[in-house]
C-alpha cells in the first residue's frame, strides 16, 4: 500500500513542541464484529455472553479433517458495509491463511483476506467540532479497504494456578477489518471518525458497535512529522476498546514521539498497548519481533465470487444512512444543520426522533428531543435505549400542546411527570386538572381581579405598554398556569386599553 497524503497541514490541528510545531498522522484499522447469527465459516452461534466453549463447532475447534464453509450472510453484511462506505465492491475476492501459533487460534492460522479483499477504496465524511464558535467542519477520510476474517478465541490466564484456559466461543466469529487511509490529523478527528464509522455500521445493522463487548475495536497507527515533511515512522497501538481511549492513546503517543524526536532520538516501528489506567502506551513487540504470517490463499476455499446484480440487490435494501438522513431532515423538516446532526449521530436517537416527528411539527419535535429528552438523558447518564419516556408518550405531549390543551410551560411539567412516573400524557392532564383554561369568562374574571387589586400598576401599564407582561404573569399565576397565555395576553391589553 502506497501512502498518499491527502490533507493540507492545518495550523489549528498542529501540536506545539519545544522546537516548533508537529503534525500527527493517524490511520485506523477497525475490527467490527459482523452482526450474524452464525460464525464466518461454521454454523456455531455468535451470541454474546454464553458459557465458555458453549458456541463451538468442530470447525471452530479445528478438529482434523474439518473444512470451512462460508456463511453467505456475513458476505452480504460486508457488501452492505462497503456500500455504506461508498466503497468499491470487489466481485472476486480471495481468502488467505495468516499463520501463527497461539492457543486461542485452534487452526494455527486465521482465515483472512490479504491481497484481494471483498471491499476496496471508499470514503467517510466526518464532522469535526463544534469549535469555539459552534461550527462543525466536514472532512473526508479515505477508506483503504474492508476485508472479512475470523476472530480468535480468548485465553483466560486467571482461572488456574499454573495453566491457562481457552474459550473458543469467539473463535471463528466474523470480523470486518476496516482500514482507513492515513488521513486523520488529530485525536478529535480520530474520535469523530470512530463515532461516525460506528454510526454507519449501526445504521446498516452490520455491526452492533458495542465496544465494551469487544464488538468493535481499533488498532491505531500514529506517527508525527514536521508539517510538510514526509510521513514519519509509525507505531501501532493495538486493540483500543473505547473511543475515548483512542483519543487519549493518540494524544499520549504523539507527545511521546515528539519528545523522542525533539531529544534527537528516532522512533522505532513497533506495536504498542494502551493502558487506560495509566493513560499511556507501552511497547508490546518491536519490528524485529514481528511475526512472519506466511500468508497464502486458503486451498479449502474457492475464491469468493458474485455478480453486480447481487450487489445491486443489496444496495436496494440498504437503509438511509446518517448523511442522507441529515440532508433530508434539513430539506423536508426545515431543521437546522446542527439539530439534524445531533439527531442523526446515533441511529437510536434518529429512530426515536422520527417516531415523534411522524405526523407532527418537525421543528417542535426536534426541540423536545434535543433539549428535553437528550438533555435529561445526559443529566441522568442514560442512553437513548434506556429512556423512560417513549416516542409515543413524547408525541402525546406534543399533541396536547398543538391542540392547545396545555401550554408549553405545563408541557414541561407533564414531561417531568411522565419521565418519573410514566403513564399516558392525556390521562395525566385530565386526572390532574392540568388542562389549559380557554374559557374567556374565567380568564376575564381573573384579569379583572388582578387589575382591580393593582390600580397603581394598571396606571403605569397604560403609560408603558410593556408593563402588560407583568399582568399576564400575575394572571397565569392566579390560574395555576392553566390559562391560555395568548388569551390572557389579549384580555389584559383589552382591559387596560392598550392597543395591539
Amino acid at each position: 500500500m502506497t501512502l498518499v497524503d491527502t490533507r493540507t497541514p492545518d495550523p489549528k490541528r498542529l501540536i506545539p513542541g519545544a522546537t516548533g510545531d508537529w503534525e500527527v498522522i493517524i490511520g485506523m484499522e477497525v475490527h467490527a464484529q459482523v452482526t450474524s447469527n452464525a460464525k464466518l465459516f461454521s454454523g456455531a452461534s455468535t451470541a454474546f455472553g454464553a458459557e465458555p466453549n458453549a458456541n463451538v463447532s468442530l470447525v471452530d475447534a479445528a478438529m482434523p479433517g474439518m473444512l470451512p464453509v462460508i456463511n453467505e450472510e456475513c458476505v452480504k453484511q460486508a457488501i452492505r458495509t462497503g456500500l455504506g462506505l461508498k466503497a468499491q465492491i470487489n466481485l472476486k475476492s480471495v481468502f488467505d491463511r495468516k499463520n501463527y501459533f497461539y492457543p486461542d487460534l485452534p487452526q494455527g492460522y486465521q482465515i483472512s483476506q490479504y491481497k484481494q479483499p471483498i471491499v476496496g477504496e471508499g470514503i467517510i465524511t466526518v464532522s469535526v467540532g463544534p469549535d469555539r464558535q459552534g461550527n462543525f467542519e466536514d472532512i473526508e477520510i479515505g477508506i483503504e479497504r474492508l476485508h472479512l476474517e475470523q476472530d480468535a478465541g480468548k485465553s483466560l490466564h486467571d482461572q488456574h494456578a499454573t495453566m491457562s484456559y481457552v474459550d473458543l466461543n469467539r473463535s471463528g466469529v466474523a470480523l470486518m477489518e476496516i482500514v482507513s487511509k492515513p488521513d486523520l490529523r488529530s485525536s478529535d478527528e480520530a474520535r469523530a471518525y470512530l463515532t461516525k464509522l460506528r454510526s454507519i455500521l449501526r445504521y446498516l445493522g452490520t455491526c452492533d458497535g458495542n465496544m465494551d463487548e469487544g464488538s468493535m475495536r481499533a488498532d491505531v497507527n500514529v506517527s508525527v512529522r514536521r508539517p510538510g515533511e514526509p510521513f514519519g515512522t509509525r507505531c501501532e497501538i493495538k486493540n483500543v476498546n473505547s473511543i475515548r481511549f483512542a483519543g487519549q492513546a493518540i494524544d499520549y503517543e504523539a507527545r511521546r514521539q515528539i519528545g523522542i524526536l525533539e531529544d534527537g532520538g528516532a522512533i522505532d516501528q513497533e506495536t504498542r498497548l494502551f493502558d487506560p489506567n495509566k493513560g499511556e502506551t507501552r511497547s508490546m513487540r518491536t519490528k524485529e519481533e514481528a511475526h512472519d504470517y506466511r500468508y497464502f490463499p486458503d486451498p479449502d476455499l474457492l475464491p469468493l465470487e458474485f455478480d453486480q446484480a447481487y450487489v445491486d440487490a443489496l444496495a436496494v435494501g440498504l437503509p438511509e444512512l446518517p448523511d442522507d438522513k441529515k440532508a433530508r431532515l434539513v430539506a423536508s423538516l426545515g431543521l437546522s444543520a446542527y439539530d439534524a446532526s445531533v439527531l442523526v449521530s446515533e441511529k437510536a436517537v434518529a429512530d426515536y426522533f422520527e417516531k415523534v416527528a411522524s405526523g407532527r411539527d418537525g421543528k417542535a419535535a426536534a426541540n423536545w428531543v434535543i433539549n428535553d429528552l437528550l438533555g435529561q438523558l445526559n443529566k441522568t447518564g442514560n442512553a437513548i435505549e434506556e429512556t423512560p419516556v417513549s416516542p409515543d408518550q413524547l408525541g402525546g405531549i406534543l399533541d396536547l400542546i398543538k391542540e392547545g390543551t396545555i401550554s408549553g410551560k405545563i408541557a414541561k411539567d407533564l414531561f417531568e411527570i411522565v419521565w418519573n412516573e410514566g403513564g399516558d400524557p392525556k390521562a395525566i392532564v385530565e386526572k390532574r386538572g392540568m388542562k389549559q383554561v380557554t374559557d374567556t369568562g374565567a380568564i376575564e374574571k381573573a384579569v379583572d381581579e388582578v387589575i382591580a387589586a393593582n390600580p397603581d400598576k394598571a396606571e403605569q401599564a397604560r403609560a408603558k405598554p410593556t408593563m402588560a407582561g407583568w399582568f399576564v404573569g400575575q394572571v397565569m399565576k392566579a390560574t395555576g398556569g392553566k390559562a391560555n397565555p395568548q388569551a390572557v395576553n389579549a384580555l389584559v391589553k383589552e382591559k387596560l386599553g392598550i392597543a395591539d
Binding site: L58, A61, A62, M63, P64, G65, M66, L67, P68, V69, I70, R97, N99, F101, P103, P106, Q107, G108, Y109, S164, V166, D292, R294, Y295, F296, P299, D300, L301, L302
Partner: protein, 495 residues
C-alpha cells in the same frame, strides 16, 4: 464356502452371492477378520481392527439382505485408510501426534459407504499424514508388501502413502479399501501390489472428515482387486457435499455400466515427456505393450507433448509442503492427541511437535514454512503456482485436440526393499516415485493405475491412464481393456 475362498471373492462376486443369499455378510466378515488376525503381524496393514463393529454391521446387513433390501455395497467388508475420520474409532493418520484420537464424527466418504451397506473391518496403515511413497514413515511401522521377488525373501514396500490399503487388498485382508492420493498415494501403491487404484477428479469425493495433507491436491479414491470393484466403490464414495465447498455438484455416473464398453476410435495420447532417462527397460516395454493392447482394441494412438511435465515434481514439492505446513499447525497439543508438557506454551508446542511428528513430516513442514516465508514466497510458492497453471494448460491443450485419455507408466520402477539404502539416504530419490503421478494432482484430473504385467523378478508393474475432468468412465473403460489383456496378478501367499 471355505474362508480362504470367501476372501478371494471380488466385490462384484461377493455382492452377487450375498444378494442370492448363498453367503452371509457375517461369514464373509468373519473370514476377513480371521485372515487379518492371521496376517497382520507379518504384513502390518491394519493399525486397528474393529472386530465388534464389523460383526455388528455385518449382522445388520444380513438382516437387510434377508428382507431383500440393502445398498450397493451391502455386507461388503472394507478396510479404511487411517486418514478418514471414523466416529468413535482410531483415527491417527499414521501419526504419533494424534495419539488416542477418536473423532466424534464420520467422514463423508465413509458415511457414504456405510449408507450403502458396507462393513468396516478396521483402519489401515499409511505413511504419516500421507507423506511418503513407501509406508515407512508410519508411526506404526512399515507395511510389508504381500509380493516378494522370485526366489527372494526380502521384504518389499507396498508403496505409499496408501500402503496399508494396497497391501490389504492385495493380500485378501479386505474386499476393497479406501485410500487417498495427493501426489500418487493411490496409484503408486496399487502399481506396487498388482491392484487397481483410481484417483478421481479433484472435487469428485468430499474431503470432509479426511485428515488434510495438501488441501488443493488431496482426493479420496478406492483401491480394489480389479477395475469393476474400483468402479463399484467409487460410485459409493463420490458425492457432492455442502460441508466441502471444493466438492463438485455433478451427478455420480454408474461407473460399472461403463465397463466393457468399446474403446474403438478412442484417441489415446502417449506423452513423450514421460520417457524418463534411466527408466528401467522393463517399464518401457510394459508401456509399449499397453499401447499395443489399446491399439488392438481399436483405440487411436496419438503421440502428444506435455511440455511442462519436468517441472511438475519440483513444483509439487513446493505446493504440497506449503499447504501441509499450515494444515498441520493445528496439531499443537492444546485440544487433542499427544501433549508433551513444557515450561510454557511455546515449550509445550515444541516438545509436542518434536515428539509427535516423524522425520519426513518435519522435513515437509520445514520446507513448507520456508517456501511461504517473507522474501521466498514469490520465488517459490508463486512460481510453483504458475507452473501448476502451465501443467494444467498442457493437459487442456491435448484434450482440446480430441485426446480422451493419456497412457503412461504408473511408476518408474517396481516395489523396492524396505529400508532401501538409496531411498533412505536421499529423500529426492524417494520423491521421484511420484514422477508420473503428481502431474495429475497438480491438474486436478482423474488417473487410474491398472496392473499390466510383472517385471523380470516377478513383481507387479502398473500402467496409468489419465482422463479429462469428471470423465472417470473413460478411464474405467480403457483400464478394463488393459486388465482384460494383461490378466490378473496375485501374490504367492507366504504370510
Amino acid at each position: 464356502m471355505p474362508m480362504n475362498e470367501l476372501t478371494k471373492l471380488t466385490i462384484a462376486e461377493a455382492r452377487a452371492k450375498l444378494r442370492a443369499r448363498e453367503i452371509t455378510s457375517a461369514e464373509l466378515t468373519d473370514a476377513y477378520l480371521f485372515a487379518i488376525d492371521e496376517a497382520n503381524s507379518a504384513l502390518n496393514a491394519y493399525v486397528a481392527v474393529t472386530h465388534d463393529r464389523a460383526r455388528a454391521m455385518a449382522k445388520a446387513s444380513d438382516e437387510r439382505l434377508a428382507k431383500g433390501e440393502g445398498g450397493a455395497l451391502e455386507g461388503i467388508p472394507l478396510g479404511i485408510k487411517d486418514l478418514f475420520a471414523t466416529q468413535g474409532f482410531h483415527t491417527q493418520a499414521g501419526s504419533h501426534i494424534l495419539d488416542g484420537f477418536k473423532p466424534r464424527y464420520e467422514s463423508t466418504v465413509t458415511a457414504n459407504l456405510w449408507a450403502d451397506g458396507a462393513v468396516m473391518l478396521g483402519k489401515l496403515n499409511m505413511d504419516e499424514f500421507a507423506m511418503g511413497s513407501s509406508n515407512e514413515t508410519s508411526y506404526y511401522g512399515p507395511v510389508v508388501n504381500p509380493w516378494r521377488a522370485k526366489g527372494d525373501n526380502k521384504a518389499l514396500v507396498p508403496g505409499g502413502s496408501s500402503g496399508g490399503s494396497a497391501a490389504a487388498v492385495s493380500a485378501w485382508l479386505c474386499a476393497g479399501a479406501t485410500a487417498t492420493d495427493t501426489g500418487g498415494s493411490i496409484r503408486q501403491p496399487a502399481a506396487f501390489t498388482g491392484t487397481v487404484g483410481i484417483k478421481p477428479t479433484y472435487g469428485r469425493c468430499s474431503r470432509w472428515g479426511i485428515v488434510a495433507f495438501a488441501s488443493s491436491l488431496d482426493q479420496a479414491g478406492p483401491i480394489a482387486r480389479n477395475v469393476r470393484d474400483a468402479a463399484i466403490m467409487l460410485k459409493s464414495m463420490a458425492s457432492v457435499d455442502a460441508k466441502d465447498t471444493t466438492s463438485v455438484d455433478r451427478p455420480v455416473p454408474d461407473y460399472e455400466a461403463a465397463l466393457g464398453g468399446s474403446v474403438r476410435g478412442m484417441k489415446i495420447g502417449i506423452p513423450k515427456e514421460y520417457r524418463m532417462d534411466g527408466m528401467p527397460e522393463e517399464i518401457g516395454t510394459l508401456w509399449r505393450q499397453g499401447i499395443a493392447w489399446l491399439k488392438d482394441a481399436g483405440a487411436e494412438i496419438v503421440d502428444i507433448s506435455l511440455p511442462h511435465t519436468k517441472y511438475a515434481l519440483p513444483a509439487y514439492y513446493i505446493v504440497a509442503p506449503a499447504e501441509a505446513s499450515s494444515n498441520l499447525a493445528r496439531y499443537d497439543g492444546v485440544r487433542y492427541g499427544l501433549r508433551v508438557p513444557g515450561r510454557d506454551i511455546v515449550d509445550m508446542y515444541e516438545r509436542t511437535r518434536a515428539a509427535g511428528f516423524g522425520r519426513e513430516v518435519k522435513r515437509r513442514v520445514m520446507i513448507g514454512t520456508y517456501v511461504l516465508s517473507a522474501g521466498y514466497y514469490d520465488a517459490y510458492y508463486v512460481q510453483a503456482q504458475k507452473v501448476r497453471t502451465l501443467i494444467k494448460k498442457d493437459f487442456e491443450d491435448v484434450f482440446a485436440e480430441g485426446i480422451e485419455a493419456i497412457l503412461t507408466p504408473a511408476t518408474p520402477s517396481a516395489a523396492f526393499g524396505i529400508a532401501d539404502q538409496d531411498m533412505s539416504a536421499d529423500p529426492v530419490k524417494m520423491y521421484l516415485n511420484d514422477v508420473f503421478t503428481v502431474t495429475v494432482n497438480m491438474a486436478g484430473l482423474p488417473g487410474i493405475a491398472v496392473p499390466a504385467g510383472l517385471d523380470g523378478r516377478g513383481l507387479p508393474l502398473g500402467l496409468q491412464l489419465i482422463g479429462r475432468p469428471f470423465e472417470e468412465e473413460t478411464l474405467f473403460r480403457a483400464a478394463s481393456v488393459i486388465e482384460k489383456a494383461a490378466g490378473r496378478f496375485e501374490p504367492q501367499k507366504w504370510w
